[in-house]
Each structure stands twice: as C-alpha cells, then as structure tokens.
C-alpha cells in the first residue's frame, strides 16, 4: 500500500521537479503508456504462463479504433478510448479462442501469424486506415464537459490525464491479480495438469487471462493514439509484439513495477541511445539475448528475489503423532448407488496403435473400501488410472460413478464429481508455497472466477487448508515453496492437495515411491486410517504395504484382470504366483 502511495506521489509531482521540456514530458507519458501495455502483457505471460507474440493486434486494433472514432466521427474522447479498449478485448477473445487449442511455442507462433492478418487488413484498407501513411487528421483532443481540459499541445495536462488513467488501470490490474481468480491463473501457470485435476477448466482460465490482457493492452493502444495524436502503422506491426516482450523481460515478469522499468529502459534505448549509437538495435538485441541466457527474471524480478530474504523455515522434528483422519477427510458417508457401488468400470479398454494397454477391465469399488491394484511391469496400472481420472479417453468400455456414466469426461469435470488423485511422480505446484498448494485445491470447491475480493478472506477455504496441513505435519513449512520440500514432505503434500478437494474417492498412485522404510510405514498407516472414511484405490509395488492395508486386491496382467480377492486369497492364488515369480 505504501509503495502505491509513493508511486502516486511521484507521478503527481514529476512535472514540478523534473527538468522537463515538453519533449521529455511527452516521452515520460509514452513510457507510462508502454508500461501499461507491458503490464497487461505480463498478466498473460507472468501470471497465466502463456507466451503470446500477437499483442500487436490488440494494441493496433485499439489504436485504430480510437483513431477512427476521433478522426472520422469526432466522437468524444472518453468514448473513443473506451471503444479502443473494448476493441482490444474483442480481438483478444477471438485470437485466444483460436490459439488455445495448442500450447507452448506452437501457440506463440500461431498468435504471431494470426496477428499479421490484422496488419495486412490495415495495410490494404487504405481509404479507412491510411495504409502505410498511418491514420492522421485527428481533431484537437480535449476531455468532454464538464472538465473540458484541452490535451493537444498541452503536455502537462496530457501527462496528468494519461498518468491518472494508467495509474487507475494499474490499480485495477493489481486488484484482479490479487483476487481469487488471480490465484487460479498462477496455479495454472505453476502446473496446468494439476490445476485441471483440482477441477479448474484451464483452457477457459487462459481465455479469460487473454481477455484481461487484451482489454488493458487495448487501453494502452487507445492512450497511445491520444499521446501521439496519430496512428502509425507500426502500432499494429509484429515488431510491436516483440517490443513489449523485450520490455517485459527487461523489467521482470510477475512484478508491478517491472513492466514500467522495462518500458523506460526500452524507450531510453530507442530515443537516447539511438542518438549516440546509430545502430542501437544491436545493443537491444544483444541485451535481450544476454538477459534470456543469464537473467531470465529481468532486472526488477532479480532484485526482488535478492531483496526478499526468505526466512529459513525450521526443519520440524519428525512428528510421531499420527494425523487424525476425521479432520482430513470430508467424504460423503452416504455416497454410492443402492448397492454401495461408487466407481465402476465395465469392459474398459485402451489401445495405443497395435498395443492393448488395458483390456476389457471390469472393476467395482464400493463405498469405504481400500482396494490395491498390483501387477507386474507393463500390466497397465497407470494407464488404468489415467482412464479413470479422465486424462486419457478410453477406446472402449464405460466408467460409472455412483451409477451414472462418466466415460470420456475431461479431468476437471471428473474432479468436480468428487474423484481426486495423487501422482506417482510428484506433481504439486512447485512454484507455489505449501499453504497455497492446498489452499488453491480447496478453493476449487468454492469459486473459480471470482475477480473481486481478497482470497485470504475466504475463511472456509483457508481453515480447510490449515487443517489439512496441520494433520499432515506440514504447518511449519507452510511458507516454503513446494519445489523446496524434502521428498517425503512432497509426497505428503501430494496427498494433501488431493484431499483438499474434498473427494469421495481417492486414487493414490504409488504413495510410498522412493520413501525410506520409516516414511513408508508412516504413509501406510496414514492411508489405512483414511480408509473407511474415504474410498481409496491404491497402486503400489511394496508388497508389505499392500498386504498390510488392503481390504481387497486386484491383480492386473497384460492389461487384463488376472485375479481379485482378499490379501489372503491373492497370496494363495496359483495364477498370481506364476505371473509374479515366473518360476
């Protein structure tokens, strides 16, 4: 809060003490506008984790919209700027809807190519846009009544108006980023598959991020038209997309100040360095390469990281007290159909080309059961799990949940039904704190798209997260980044994240993988205590664990069910022995 007040103060008083000429003030105004653009860009890059090379379309469409409304229709200034922002929003929605079918670098190249379509439209439509000459003929710009302040040829007034709008926009973005939705975006960036497994529709989340980014990029584009009183065609050229990327990386992603610093550095290079260094772009390009290679967090980002000294969390003494399962689990005790059947597969099959990984598996788990699934290598256990949790679509067969057919549902919908899973290879939100890992999972049961309010005020969600951490013995480590935990702690956090979604059904994939004998014992005890309160299916290789905790065991071999029964029955089963020992 204090930082913001300081920033507002600095902005408000700059014209007084800075040795300015209209030129410098105009430049500062431009820096503010580009800073806003970079901040809007960073919403998508630094917070949602999507690299776009097509933002020139958002800024460009907005700039031309505002310019056209002003030049041709003599529309009021405020309306024109607003229309520009909306233009950016709409363009972003259209582009986003098209490109979000893909990910990563491919998505980036798609945005680049599609944004070029807009460039060419502008280039061709000369009568309207002026083509390469740009759009000029703007009237004298002034605020509407009752203020009526003139902006054209009034650098000071223009500076204040633009600074005010940028500041307000920055506050709005800050507000959005700090809302519960902001947390969702960052979870998607930290680990998209896990976020989906918690119930978030990640594609839609990213589309909303696109929209926010487009709206404020559009606002920046509209303001740029106001500042330049002209719309050069360069505003919609792909170099603009490159420029904003450079600015954002120079300044540092994930910060509020970074984009403005980056914009300042870039514009300094463009306008001042270029005076001394005729070939200043070599400098820009070289700096960019060096930053990507050696300083990926940018200037501000790196400073921020260095300045925030992380308090070394005390290594907690091994807690011998076993967690109280009643506190960890909130499953519905009456779930299941009339027969008590909770999750069922009928003839479930998965083929990969010529290989049948899962072969007509019939599988029924009843409420309150603890079922282990075992089998030799290549038996299809993980594929089976992936089918049950909607990660892979089946080739044939059905999956039933509480009697209803859920075959082919995507991961996030399965999660919302009450099915949760933990992973064999730890799949937590590495960049989020321990607390946030569990909190964001818990939040998925309450709200996905809340753009207002403070997530720390969602009391029910926070209490739930605290409760889970306490029972798992991770409270002392709540502020540590997930990636920095010990292996055993991460495996517990794995389970914690799954439990935080209040599942009726829990699938645990090799929970004791890579654990010491001691940790294995404690984990097995935990799982045993959870059983009876939530229905559990476990894949495990540790036979002692399996025999010790299971109510029933299913043995898979070559994708088929070989046997099923109690631990004693399985031990005696001749087929199972043969398959395991191949004596």
């Amino acid at each position: 809060m204090r930082g913001l007040a300081l920033a507002a103060l600095v902005l408000a008083t700059v014209p007084l003490y800075a040795d300015y000429t209209p030129f410098y003030l105009g430049l500062l105004t431009e820096v503010l506008v580009f800073g806003l653009f970079a901040l809007a860009y960073d919403v998508l890059l630094g917070h949602a984790g999507v690299l776009s090379l097509g933002h020139s379309a958002f800024v460009g469409v907005a700039a031309y919209t505002t310019g056209l409304l002003l030049a041709r229709y003599r529309a009021p200034l405020e309306l024109s700027v607003l229309a520009g922002a909306v233009g950016g929003l709409v363009t972003a929605l259209v582009l986003g809807a098209l490109v979000l079918r893909k990910r990563g670098v491919y998505l980036a190249m798609l945005t680049l190519a599609l944004s070029q379509v807009f460039y060419y439209v502008v280039l061709m439509w000369t009568p309207v846009t002026g083509g390469t000459d740009g759009l000029g003929n703007l009237p004298v710009l002034a605020l509407s009544e009752p203020l009526g302040w003139r902006l054209s040829k009034r650098p000071v007034t223009r500076y204040y108006v633009v600074a005010a709008v940028v500041f307000l926009a920055m506050l709005a973005i800050r507000y959005l980023l700090r809302s519960p939705f902001g947390r969702v975006m960052r979870a998607v960036k930290a680990n998209e598959t896990r976020a989906a497994a918690c119930g978030y529709d990640t594609r839609r989340v990213k589309l909303v991020a696109f929209a926010i980014s487009g709206l404020f990029s559009g606002l920046a584009g509209a303001l740029l038209t106001v500042v330049l009183e002209f719309v050069p065609i360069e505003n919609i050229h792909w170099q603009m997309s490159g420029a904003v990327l450079i600015m954002t990386l120079f300044g540092g992603t994930g910060t509020l100040l970074g984009p403005f610093v980056g914009a300042g550095v870039f514009i300094w290079m463009r306008d001042f360095l270029s005076k001394y260094l005729e070939y200043w772009e070599v400098f820009v390009g070289a700096s960019f390469v060096l930053i990507v290679l050696f300083l990926p967090e940018g200037i501000v980002g790196t400073l921020a990281r260095l300045v925030t000294r992380r308090r070394a969390a005390p290594v907690s003494a091994e807690e011998d007290r076993l967690p109280e399962p009643e506190r960890l689990v909130r499953a519905d005790p009456r779930s299941g159909d009339a027969d008590g059947r909770l999750l069922e597969s009928r003839g479930l099959t998965k083929r990969f080309g010529g290989l049948t990984a899962v072969d007509r598996v019939d599988f029924v788990v009843r409420r309150g059961e603890l079922r282990s699934v075992i089998g030799p290598n290549g038996a299809g256990k993980t594929t089976f799990f992936n089918l049950l949790t909607g990660v892979l679509p089946p080739s044939a067969g059905r999956i039933l949940w509480k009697g209803a057919d859920i075959t082919g549902q995507p991961a996030h919908k399965i999660s919302r039904l009450g099915i949760a899973r933990s992973y064999q290879i730890t799949n937590i939100f590495g960049d989020l704190t321990v607390f946030e890992n569990v909190r964001i999972a818990a939040q998925s049961r309450v709200t996905h798209y809340r753009f207002w309010g403070n997530p720390d005020r969602l009391t029910a969600v926070n209490e739930r997260a605290e409760e889970i951490l306490r029972e798992l013995g991770l409270s002392a480590r709540r502020d540590v980044r997930g990636a920095e935990l010990s292996h055993g702690e991460q495996r517990y956090l794995e389970i914690g994240v799954a439990l935080a979604t209040d599942p009726d059904f829990l699938l645990l994939d090799e929970p004791t993988a890579g654990m010491s004998p001691d940790e294995t014992r404690r984990t097995a005890a935990l799982v045993r205590r959870l059983a009876g309160l939530v229905t559990i299916v476990v894949v495990e290789h540790d036979m002692e664990v399996v025999m010790g905790i299971s109510d029933r065991i299913t043995v898979l071999n070559y994708g088929e069910v070989l046997a099923e029964g109690t631990p004693a029955e399985i031990r005696e089963n001749a087929d199972v022995r043969r398959v395991y020992l191949r004596d």
Partner: protein, 281 residues
C-alpha cells in the same frame, strides 16, 4: 515469392525443428546474410557463380558460431524451447543492424547475371524469364541431392534417427552434439543459398529476413514440421498461392496464406505430412 525458394528455405527450418525442436527465428537472418554474402562476392570478384558457392559456406560457418556460442547454452534447461525462440529472436534484431553498420542502410543492387537475363520463351501471354527457369532447375537439382543426403548418408541417417529418439542415438555411442551443430549449419547454408539466388529478384536489404521467416513458418505448418515431402509440397503450394493471388491483389496474397495456416492448425495440426506428436510444444 517463388515456390522453389520457399521450399529451400522451409526445408532448412523444418530439418532443424525436426531434429532439435527449436523454432529458429534466426533462419530469416541467414537468408538475408546469404544475399549479402552473395553481393559481397560479386562486388569483390565479379563472379555470380562464385557467389552461389561462397554464400552458403560463409553463412554455414556463421550458423556454427550461433549454435556453439548461443544455442548450446539453452539445451536441456527448463523451457528450452521458449528460450530458443526468444534467443533467436534477439539475434534477429541484432544482426540486421550489424549488417546496416557494415553495408549501410539502403539495399544493394544485385543484377541478374548476363547469361541468364532475358526471356527464354513465351507461353501465350506469359513471359518465361531465363532466370526463373534457372531457379527452377537449380532447385530441381538441389532437392534430390538433399534427399540423398538425408536418406543415403550416415549423417542423414543420424538426423532421421535423432528426429524420433535422440537419447537412443546417444545410447548407440554417437555424439549428438556434433550432429546438431552440423544440422543447424546446414539449415543456415540452405537459407543462405536461397537468399543469394533470390537476390537478383528482390531488394537486398537488411529487412529481407523478416518476411521470409513468417512465410517459411507457414509452409512448415501447412506441410508438416520435420517432413521433407511436407516442406516441398507446402513450399510449392504456398509459393504458388502467393504468386497467383499476388497477381490479383498484392496484399491479399499474404492474408490468404495466413488464413490457410490457421485453418490447417485447427483442422489438422500436424500438417499435411507431419508426424503425429509434433504439434504440441
């Protein structure tokens, strides 16, 4: 833009992507450098034919420098693919300015060599220029040679194996790092050759690289990343579409191919001839 040229440039991009998984923004730069190297050779020796030889070799060496000096540092890091795009983008900003420093801002004139000027024959209303036929012939010769390189040599074998399973190649005792350097340099040399051979037809300017890169990317998307046939078919398709629609309305041509690319990405993400599984990151 002539379809044949696009094929050559796209092949370079596609091979690099197929093996190394990097979308090389600097590819357009190599094209531009090829044109300049060609101009310089002609300027110094007066021989167009020497230029055709010297340009790819010189730019190939530049490719080696880039791969060893810059790209090597990002292999195996987190987000290596992104870093690859960003870093090569940075180079794509730097190098044109270096070229301006050395050769000046305005473009360089590059005349069609004496032997190849003028029209070969008339086909109805269309004038078939000798130089364009020359380009066609050169491409027709070069393509089979490239195909032979990829399919009949040990180097080509390693590249093709590496495209599907890099680790296994190493587990057979082969030092992949060297292959990557050679492949990258080969891609650069191909782009450079395309650049020098196009030089008489287009403006030799530092900005040449930008446009061809995007068109090249579109070709590889439509044809399929990492596919030889895809680059050829895609290059010809896109190149001829550009030429034909360009005759109708200059700028419309570009829009058409962008839309074609968007369509392919939505309907058949791996492209006409691409291998499955390459369309994600």
């Amino acid at each position: 833009m002539n379809g044949c040229i696009l094929v050559l440039v796209a092949l370079g991009l596609s091979i690099v992507f197929g093996l190394m998984g990097i979308i090389n923004f600097a590819h357009g730069i190599f094209y531009m450098l090829g044109a300049y190297a060609g101009w310089l050779t002609v300027h110094l020796t007066g021989s167009f034919w020497l230029a055709l030889l010297a340009a790819p070799i010189a730019v190939g060496l530049v490719g080696v420098l880039v791969e060893r000096g810059v790209l090597k540092r990002i292999y195996g890091t987190r987000n290596a693919n992104f870093a690859g795009v960003l870093v090569t983008y940075g180079l794509a900003i730097m190098i044109p300015d270096l070229v301006r420093m050395t050769f000046g801002r305005p473009g360089k004139p590059f005349a069609v060599p004496e032997a190849l000027t003028g029209s070969l024959f008339r086909l109805g209303a269309i004038d078939v220029h000798r130089y364009r036929v020359f380009i066609l012939l050169v491409t027709a010769v070069l393509l089979p040679l490239l195909w032979l390189l990829l399919n009949k040599t040990n180097l080509g074998l390693v590249i093709r194996a590496g495209t599907s399973d890099n680790l296994m190649v190493q587990l057979l005792g082969i030092n992949v790092a060297r292959t990557w350097t050679i492949t990258y340099a080969l891609g650069a040399a191909l782009a450079a050759f395309a650049g020098v051979i196009t030089a008489p037809l287009v403006a030799v300017a530092p900005e040449m690289g930008g446009l061809v890169l995007i068109e090249c990317f579109i070709v590889t998307v439509v044809g399929g990343m990492g596919s030889f046939v895809g680059a050829v078919v895609g290059g010809l398709l896109i190149g001829e579409t550009l030429a034909l629609t360009g005759m109708l309305y200059d700028v419309l041509a570009d829009v058409v191919i962008y839309l074609a690319m968007a369509l392919v990405l939505l309907v058949r993400p791996r492209g006409l001839f691409g291998q499955e599984g390459m369309s994600e990151e």
